[in-house]
């Protein structure tokens, strides 16, 4: 896999963490300033992605302007909560514990009698209840919701549209999981959070890699080739990656394209949002 360039598989995704951290801080600071928000509101799961964003946000605007919200369900593992609490204690930011078990149970109880719900539907419901909770807390705190999805999971569609994918801005959405780990180590995210298996915490013992049948380092290298380097799939396979896996990744990207875009608006009039009415998200009042 080293090829003519002499690169090792690790090198190609290796980042200068100090520099990338500076980029992310600049991004957060600027977007908080342009929205005029007093605080940033973040859903803290105990996993590495939200942990990293918490550390970046605290470094960018100060821990005193960060409000983290822990939103477990009954199926959330106790270690997730403990890990989230370790972050709160390390950063010294404000935290709120708002269980979404009751609203989730209410939604499920409200389904037509006898209807069973798949784990995916249940997981999507939970993700959207967390979104609802976060946006409401942001109204209370005069804050903005920061996104915590990484590039790997967004590219394969391992996210819930209008759920965890919803945010005002996302500082780590162009970082692969491998890079999220590297940056987290640099910023002092607790080791047990960096090293534990990534999980959507949908049911006890669930892991992304177990459920998806992949490991992130390999997934990231395949995504990097398909997306960043625009390589044909056959060239990726020729490098030694498993054919079935490469085709499956490509298919996951293709099928989740809609999750990464705003919904299309039917163009009927003369000037339409998204087509030919194109303004920055925030702009000053002109004289």
């Amino acid at each position: 896999m080293s090829g003519e360039s002499g690169r090792t598989p690790h090198d190609e995704l290796a980042i200068d963490p100090e520099m990338v951290a500076a980029m992310c801080r600049s991004f957060i600071t600027s977007h908080v300033a342009s929205t005029g928000a007093e605080r940033v509101v973040l859903g803290l799961s105990g996993g590495i992605d939200s942990a990293l964003v918490a550390y970046l946000t605290a470094a960018a605007i100060g821990a005193d302007r960060l409000v983290v919200v822990l939103m477990p369900t009954a199926s959330s593992s106790p270690s997730s909560k403990a890990d989230a609490e370790a972050i709160v204690s390390d950063l010294g930011c404000q935290s709120e514990l708002i269980s979404i078990e009751a609203p989730l149970a209410a939604l499920l109880a409200n389904l037509p009698a006898g209807e069973s719900v798949t784990p995916v539907r249940r997981g999507n419901m939970a993700a959207r209840l967390r979104m609802t909770t976060l946006y409401d807390r942001s109204a209370l705190h005069r804050g903005v919701v920061v996104g915590t999805g990484n590039k790997s999971e967004m590219l394969i569609g391992y996210s819930t549209i209008f759920g965890d994918a919803a945010s005002a801005f996302n500082p780590i959405g162009d970082l692969y999981k491998t890079q999220v780990r590297e940056l987290s180590r640099h910023l002092g995210v607790p080791t047990q959070i960096i090293e534990k298996a990534p999980s959507a915490d949908l049911w006890p013992g669930q892991t992304d890699e177990g459920e998806g049948g992949f490991d992130y380092p390999t997934l990231d290298r395949v995504l990097y080739r398909i997306v960043d380097r625009r390589l044909p799939l056959e060239d990726v396979i020729a490098e030694g990656f498993d054919r079935e896996f490469v085709l499956r990744v490509s298919e996951m990207i293709r099928r989740s394209e809609f999750k990464r875009q705003m919904p299309p608006i039917a163009k009927v009039g003369g000037r339409s949002s998204g087509s030919d009415y194109l303004y920055p998200r925030r702009r000053p009042k002109l004289d």
């Binding site: 690169r7 980042i15 500076a22 600049s26 009415y277 194109l278």
Partner: protein, 299 residues
């Protein structure tokens, strides 16, 4: 000796906020004056912000705009300034322009000739491309004894088309100025400074200085417009291609560098690349290629 002090104002303009950006320019001109600068250089679209889209016509200014004229007035006691804005014209076109303000007036305007419209860029959708490449003479705080300095201004992408700085140098520029709004991309440990865009610009700018045997002053902005994070790294490079001063990445800065324009004469004596350039040969071959592409000549 023709010494001049350059001040590169690596600022973070507010997107679409003219009032705030004018105030920022005024403050930096004052700061540069206090630091003894002869010329202060601001980044591309420093007065308006970069990712304007449909805001472009709303923030556009004529050269005669009173706000621009008022800014020019600040240069009557020095330092001179290069500022960048969206220029609107009588025929209602919009340009990404960079103006030399000197002696209280708008002395010269360079319009961006190469508008990147690929990948993350969409400039041609909103702006018109300039169609003149002209060097100019500027006092830059100099006395009659010291004489004028030949300067040439390009806007960001302009320098990625090496004909442009090359023509500016042939047209009399000793100091090539690039005002930029360069977004960071390609973060990797494999790249110089950990950033692909910083590495490629670094190579380009040193090569441009060396190939034109000119000073190069590159002012790139910092801050954020929408998804884009601008990387800064403003720098001054000598006519031998050596970096003389360099600003940090991603942080606001006022980078000061003293240059001696007599170095340009010495560099061009030692390495007479400009003298030996074959303009007629270049033109003849371009004419042939143009005619061939148009089907006017056999390939």
């Amino acid at each position: 000796m023709r010494r001049r002090v350059l001040a590169l104002a690596q600022i973070a303009p507010a997107l679409g906020d003219l009032a705030q950006n004018f105030a920022l320019h005024q403050a930096k001109i004052a700061e540069a004056r206090a630091a003894g600068a002869d010329l202060v250089i601001f980044p591309e679209l420093g007065l308006t912000g970069y990712q304007l889209q449909d805001l472009a016509p709303e923030v556009a200014m004529r050269r005669s705009d009173p706000r621009l004229q008022a800014l020019a007035k600040l240069t009557s006691g020095g330092p001179s300034a290069v500022v960048s804005f969206v220029e609107s014209t009588d025929d209602h076109r919009l340009f990404a322009a960079a103006a030399l303000l000197e002696g209280g007036e708008v002395r010269h305007v360079a319009r961006k000739c190469y508008l990147p419209t690929y990948g993350l860029f969409d400039e041609r959708r909103f702006l018109a491309a300039g169609d003149a490449i002209r060097a100019t003479r500027a006092a830059l705080g100099g006395s009659a004894v010291q004489g004028d300095v030949g300067i040439g201004i390009g806007v960001c992408e302009d320098f990625w088309h090496p004909t442009l700085p090359s023509i500016l140098a042939q047209d009399g520029a000793e100091l090539l100025i690039n005002v930029a709004a360069g977004p960071a991309r390609g973060a990797s440990v494999d790249a110089d400074q950990g950033l692909g865009s910083a590495a490629s610009w670094g190579t380009l700018l040193r090569a441009t200085a060396a190939l034109t045997t000119s000073y190069v002053a590159f002012t790139n902005r910092v801050g954020v417009d929408e998804s884009l994070i601008f990387w800064g790294g403003s720098r001054v490079i000598g006519p031998d291609g050596v970096v003389l001063a360099e600003a940090p990445l991603f942080e606001e800065a006022l980078l000061l560098a003293e240059i001696d324009l007599d170095e340009v004469a010495r560099a061009r004596t030692a390495l007479p690349l400009l003298r030996d350039e074959r303009l007629e040969l270049t033109r003849r071959e371009y004419d042939r290629i143009i005619a061939t592409r148009a089907g006017l000549e056999e390939a």
